[in-house]
Symmetry: C2
């Protein structure tokens, strides 16, 4: 194996695939990046056995790729990334020097790193499933970021660590819940298939960071795996087994009280009230809302109390008193991104709905909590 | 106790004194800030029993301080800082509401926080020792930052966790060593006293972050404690007992080989070579220097090897081969701050001297290590 390539191109490609590498991988070879030079291109593979990434670098004018000899090697991910970053030269040369010892050089600097033969690397099946749909990377990122925070990280209910992605009647839905709150975002897409799968939120968040805002992403899915195609890259992830609850039927339609207000005002008030935490670190925030007064308060035996008034708000319906997790509401408001928040209450001990005013595509549902004051 | 003050002034004062608070303080009251309103001023005290900070806020045009009632309270440091920061108002009002429950309010927000009586707070003696000298805050920061990194954090040799500060014949010296390297910085000051004490490097680094670059600092010292006076603040710290080695006599004066080169070039080369670490995480870097060639290399059984050539350097004396900790040399170069580095070698297994060219006030000494290749 022997090739030369632009440092920038090589580093960016290595950096993207390396995100699949986990520090605590069960298989030693998986701490490496598999580099294969064949078919006049570089093929990079990295995996933690849950997520696998495959990327191709083809020769073009920009990347100055020159292949002298085909071959393959696995190099420790953190070594090759660091070396390529540190070498002070616009091009990098990689050559298997002796056995698996790999020479990486550029400028006045030459590294020789112990590699591992690709025969030690697990075979990963990147074959493409049949069902698929397309979405812009920008929209995909939004759907991920605006839902995945509502999952739980408790391993005892695996399906709630994932985001449920469905396509039904051309409506794409991302839904996530930790059973005390729900985040749900929908979008109309071009797809005739009916699709329903659960993918770990942690994987989705990694994917959101890798994909380029301006590209289009094709998502292909089977019973076992999902693949994200964009540019010359495939990101593949295992699915979570199980049946996700039908989240649509949780969302109430008839409301007793509806308020609208500036999201920044509300976020700041929640943030201040959330400062009062109980001994287990939870902040319970209370709303007391009527036509004349909107009081945000909190109280804990250990720390003390807070009380403040929100001056500017619109109100319709009946007065209400309700207590809930301050963290849940502030995360919902942040996810919505809009400047005007509408909160719709079904009743004192019923879940309430948080939405951007006039936007029904993004819905956040929060369960209230009982307090003894 | 009841007063009103500008949020900005109050927050900055709290933030500065709070740096003395340790998360793991042996005395519960020491997690708080003591607030005393007396003599028409606010007196703030915080301490972790090693370091104590005392600050006075007097009424002036900017800070809008109005005192309604004298009194005192101790409030949990992280609570009061967070509350004052979060309140959305230019002025903050603080009032003991009921017993030790303290009301902190501003704008539409009101917090009530459980305080502790000042009788639970340890008495701290801030009386001023007799011997003292003055130095600009800017110079003090440099002396701290350019020496304290060379201390050790191993508790088994307490004096080596500290910086030795001496005044002798009007020369102020900061010296620190972990027994494998030495950092030493001197400056001429106006002081007739002979002074010699050891202060923990960790405390000095905290002080460097608190003091304002433009102020002057007076340092007063006794057998037991040292005080740093600047503006309306006193930072007081315990000393480390023991006799510090006379570091001046370690520094060689006759050299076999002297090189000078660009500090950035050397730093980058050391950084690349330091990438090759042995299994215990140490990077041993080798120099091989002659009139015609300057090779920087490194090698480890586990990872591999690196080799690079430095092209631009000046050289006088005899050829030399020497191995040393890459971390020590790069920390010394960074501490020196200059763009031209002069390294003077006494011999292959002798400590070498790192200095900015033509600057004898800042000296770094590094012990070489034996390698078996």
């Amino acid at each position: 194996m022997h090739f030369k390539i632009s440092k920038k191109t090589f580093y960016q490609a290595l950096d993207k695939v390396a995100r699949a590498i986990s520090a605590s991988s069960p298989i030693p070879a998986l701490s490496g990046i598999k580099i294969v030079i064949a078919n006049n291109q570089i093929e990079l593979t990295a995996s933690d056995s849950d997520m696998s990434i495959f990327d191709i670098v083809k020769s073009d004018e920009d990347n100055q790729l020159v292949i002298y000899k085909e071959g393959s090697i696995v190099i420790e991910g953190k070594y090759i990334l660091d070396i390529v970053r540190k070498i002070d030269s616009s091009t990098i040369e990689v050559e298997i020097a002796d056995g698996y010892l790999t020479k990486i050089s550029g400028g006045n600097t030459e590294f020789k790193i112990n590699g591992v033969p690709t025969s030690d690397y697990p075979l990963i099946d990147f074959s493409k499933p049949q069902e698929s749909f397309k979405i812009s990377a920008n929209d995909l990122q939004k759907m991920i970021v605006q839902t995945s925070f509502a999952t739980t990280d408790r391993e005892n209910r695996p399906i709630l660590t994932g985001v449920n992605i469905t396509v039904e009647n051309k409506e794409l839905t991302f839904a996530a819940t930790d059973s005390n709150r729900l985040a749900r975002k929908t979008q109309i897409i071009k797809c005739e298939d009916e699709i329903n799968f659960i993918i770990p939120a942690s994987s989705l968040l990694k994917i959101a960071r890798i994909i380029d805002k301006n590209s289009e992403v094709e998502i292909a899915v089977s019973d076992k795996k999902v693949q994200f195609y964009f540019e010359d890259m495939i990101i593949q992830n295992r699915l979570i087994d199980g049946i996700f609850p039908d989240t649509n039927r949780f969302i109430p339609n008839a409301f007793q009280t509806i308020i609208t207000l500036d999201s920044r005002d509300l976020l700041n008030a929640i943030d201040r009230a959330s400062f009062i935490k109980s001994i287990d670190g939870v902040s319970i925030v209370n709303f007391q809302i009527s036509e004349n007064e909107f009081i945000v308060s909190s109280k804990s035996q250990e720390v003390g109390s807070s009380v403040e008034e929100i001056i500017k708000y619109e109100y319709e319906g009946e007065p209400i008193k309700i207590s809930f997790s301050g963290k849940f509401l502030s995360e919902a408001i942040r996810a919505i991104e809009g400047s005007n928040i509408k909160i719709s209450f079904e009743g004192e001990m019923k879940p309430f709905v948080v939405r951007e005013v006039d936007d029904l595509n993004s819905t956040h549902l929060i369960l209230p909590v009982r307090t003894n004051y």
